[in-house]
């Protein structure tokens, strides 16, 4: 009775849908090579990767959260606030710290802990209190940033313990450590979502929460975990960014979240949950990184840059729509 009519092509197609941006990336590389001889050099491409490393972690976090059917805007504030607070816990008051004088080696664990705590608080309000994720995390975006501005009084922290600088500035085997780290985490994300129970349950929750619950998935627990993981990844992004910049400015991470969403969505992650892959999100990050790099190389006037930039996002969106074949939500 079962008619198993040629299932394979369909599956293939579905798999390629994650990669609708690959043609865009190819076009960008070709066009870029013509526009500027520097563009395709290993040095420049390494720079692009390094520049995108920390924002890519945010995209990873947001993709996980979006796939689970939720939303987190506050990630961008965590990028600055978590390392700032962690640093203030360990540096002396003269360097802008709280003067508690905890050991400097603990700064990265502290930072990740702060990120996790923010994620946990978001999760608490959204899951236990059933508040709108958009507005909770919007308010948290403002609050978390304020929790950086307040203690630092808006000042840049530039006397940092070496431990927090290392990851963002070290070079391992010829590539920046940040690139390795981001690469490893993306690989873990891709594998985790494809081959692990918890990853699959995130798709189920994002696709139909009630059905997931009825199938025995502990929805609240998974969602909470995802928020905590998201906050932790944002804090790690902050560590990498801190290392790359050598200081923590009061604006670190501010304004990233729009780009993060753009990268995730042109990469095929649905705002409605349950759809998209980490690999797709990664292609989104790469497109955005390459476009920014090209605009810089060509020295497009700052006034018109937004137009070119936004235009390219729109075009990428259209290509991904045409290649993907389905209406977007």
């Amino acid at each position: 009775m079962t008619t198993l009519t040629a299932p394979t092509p369909r599956v293939r197609l579905a798999r390629f849908r994650d990669l609708t941006l690959v043609p865009v990336i190819v076009i960008l590389l070709v066009v870029g090579a013509f526009l500027d001889p520097i563009f395709l050099t290993p040095g420049n491409l390494t720079n692009v990767l390094q520049q995108q490393a920390s924002i890519s972690l945010l995209v990873l976090a947001e993709a996980l959260i979006l796939i689970s059917g939720k939303f987190d805007l506050s990630l961008e504030s965590t990028v600055g606030m978590a390392p700032a607070i962690a640093v203030m816990l360990v540096v002396p008051a003269s360097a802008g710290g709280f003067g508690i004088g905890l050991p400097g080696a603990l700064v990265i664990p502290f930072c990740l802990l702060v990120g996790a705590a923010i994620g946990a608080f978001n999760g608490f309000l959204i899951i236990k209190f059933q508040l709108s994720a958009f507005i909770v995390t919007l308010a948290m975006l403002i609050i978390v940033h304020g929790l950086q501005l307040g203690p630092t009084e808006g000042k840049t922290l530039f006397q940092l313990p070496d431990s927090i600088l290392y990851l963002g500035s070290a070079v391992w085997l010829g590539l920046p450590a940040a690139v390795w780290i981001a690469g490893a985490l993306f690989a873990a994300g891709i594998a985790g979502l494809a081959y692990f129970r918890v990853g699959r349950s995130m798709y189920a929750i994002g696709g139909n929460t009630d059905a997931a619950r009825a199938a025995g998935i502990r929805v609240d627990r998974v969602l909470w975990g995802v928020f905590i993981l998201g906050g932790t990844l944002a804090a790690l992004a902050g560590v990498l960014e801190t290392g790359r910049l050598g200081a923590i400015g009061s604006n670190q991470g501010v304004g990233w979240i729009f780009m993060v969403f753009a990268a995730a969505v042109i990469g095929g992650v649905s705002m409605d949950g349950g759809k998209g892959t980490i690999l797709g999100a990664l292609t989104g990050v790469l497109v955005i990184g390459l476009v920014q790099n090209l605009l810089t190389l060509k020295g497009v006037s700052g006034f018109w840059q937004p137009v070119v930039y936004g235009g390219i996002i729109l075009i990428a969106l259209m290509i991904s729509r045409i290649a993907g074949g389905k209406a977007q939500d």
């Binding site: 081959y195 699959r200 139909n208 997931a212 619950r213 025995g216």
Partner: protein, 495 residues
């Protein structure tokens, strides 16, 4: 003879799926014409083409001999046809009154809400739907929503009405009222197309019947004098005359209690209910609308939390309102509304069917796709799920096949207790047999089952039927009841 509605050589493809392959239908003026076919035969696809929601890839649609209006001309379509779609078209955030008069709240100018409500009450009274015109439809049960959809379609005054499985979510008395309305409309000369998987309904209300099979037109015949068995073989394409009615099997329940609820109460729904199901036994739960039977079943599986009382699965007292702990104790269940709690539309058949056993499909938290696929292929075979393969998203399946996937999910872990709620809603004859067979097979393997249904035919496989009335179990009816007896108990006529 000029047909009132005619579709010729219609082809409709969805990606690789061919939903209609040169199929057609011709409906004479004033007749009630049945369209039957197995799940996925393409019936609902034809409905969406006949109502102008989708455009056929090939072929033509004619109304009274004239070509159908352009897709964009919604008003023209609405003048020609009204429809109860298979998928709910109720908007939950709006009131009953507004849903009834959606997009025709007023001719021109501002809406007079008071008048609208009054008109809505009239319609509701005419069609004997007992809901408040001001209630939000999101707060209604599925059955009331279905009644609302029917009332809306019938109240249009259209000359052609399509009803796509209107009775799948209705209980007996509601179906009787619907048929009474349909007869009255037919007397007024209204043409109707009626889709159902209950062939006895076809014989009761329709004059002719068209059968679709595998996206193609098979035959069109007058209903009168068309043998039931022949109709079934036309649908299934099986020459052998298998009996259309399901014959339940005999068995002797063992002694062990596998599922029990003690002194369960939920405010406003049911009170002080005791229920216990033994291994090898099917216990039916029957009752009219709002008897509380569905809520009770949902409590047993952990979807709802009772105010008081305990649920024991396989000897383990499960945490109230906690599905995972019930599943772990050895329970499997089919929820009432498959769209709501049954499946994740974007995920594959394989994945939906195996969520409860994901932890058994790999080590260290992994899920092996190969093992998942193998397991799913077995379920697809066992339950005869019509799909392109285990990787097809369940959202792309027809209703009956989606329901089979929900069954697969319930059965995948070899449950020792099985709870199925309205299991055959919207599934075709053969599928219905397969699903009821699956319940019986599970029971023969030693499970105990609770079957909640509005369909007396389904309840026939039960070893005993608990009848609920206003939140209490009023009778425990053993095998061998007649329809009339059971209905009388359900209606509270004979206590």
């Amino acid at each position: 003879m000029k047909y009132h509605v005619e579709a010729r050589n219609v082809v409709k493809r969805f990606g690789p799926t061919v939903a209609l392959d040169g199929a057609g239908i011709a409906i004479a003026p004033g007749e009630t014409h049945a369209l039957v076919g197995r799940n996925g035969a393409g019936k609902s696809t034809l409905v969406s083409i006949l109502t102008g929601l989708q455009r056929q890839d090939e072929g033509e649609v004619l109304f009274a001999g004239e070509a159908a209006p352009a897709l964009a001309d919604r008003d023209a379509w609405r003048q020609r046809v009204a429809c109860v779609y298979q998928k709910s078209t109720i908007i939950p955030a709006l009131t009953v009154a507004e849903n009834l008069f959606l997009n025709r709240q007023t001719g021109r100018g501002p809406i007079n809400w008071r008048r609208l409500r009054a008109r809505a009450r009239e319609v509701l009274a005419t069609y004997e739907v007992d809901v408040d015109a001001e209630a939000l439809t999101g707060d209604l049960g599925v059955e009331q929503r279905q009644l609302l959809e029917i009332a809306r379609a019938l109240s249009f005054g259209a000359r052609f009405i399509i009803l796509d499985e209107p009775t799948a979510r209705l209980d007996g008395p509601a179906i009787d009222r619907l048929f009474a309305r349909m007869r009255a409309l037919r007397e007024q000369g209204v043409t109707m197309m009626y889709i159902s998987h209950h062939l006895d309904e076809v014989y009761e209300i329709c004059q002719s019947v068209t059968v679709f099979r595998d996206a193609r037109h098979v035959l069109t015949r007058p209903v009168a004098g068309f043998p039931h068995d022949e109709l079934v073989s036309a649908m299934t394409g099986e020459a052998g005359r298998r009996p259309a009615a399901y014959e339940s099997r005999a068995r002797t329940p063992a002694g062990r209690v596998v599922l029990s609820g003690a002194r369960l109460s939920l405010a406003g729904r049911y009170r002080d209910v005791d229920i216990s199901v033994r291994s090898g036994e099917v216990v039916g739960l029957a009752g009219s609308g709002s008897s509380g039977k569905v809520r009770l079943a949902e409590t047993l599986v952990g979807l709802r939390r009772a105010d008081s009382g305990t649920v024991t699965v396989n000897g383990t007292r499960v945490r109230p309102g906690d599905v995972p702990s019930a599943l772990r104790a050895g329970l499997g269940f089919v929820p009432e509304d498959r769209h709501h709690e049954g499946f994740v539309p974007l995920l594959s058949v394989a994945e939906n069917a195996t969520i409860p056993i994901a932890h058994k499909l790999g080590r260290f938290g992994t899920v092996s796709p190969a093992r998942r696929r193998a397991r799913a292929l077995r379920m697809i075979e066992d339950l005869h799920i019509k799909t392109e393969g285990p990787e097809q998203p369940v959202g792309d399946l027809s209703g009956g096949n989606a329901q089979k996937v929900v069954f697969a999910r319930a059965l995948v872990d070899d449950p020792s207790a099985l709870v199925v709620i309205n299991p055959t809603a919207g599934v075709d004859v053969r599928a219905r047999q397969a699903l009821l067979g699956a319940v019986e097979e599970a029971v023969e393997r030693g499970a105990g089952a609770v079957l909640v249904s509005d369909e007396l035919d389904d309840l026939r496989i039960c070893d005993r039927v608990l009848v609920m009335f206003h939140g209490r179990v009023v009778r425990d009816v053993p095998r061998g009841w007649t329809d009339h007896e059971l209905v009388a108990v359900m209606e509270g006529i004979r206590q």
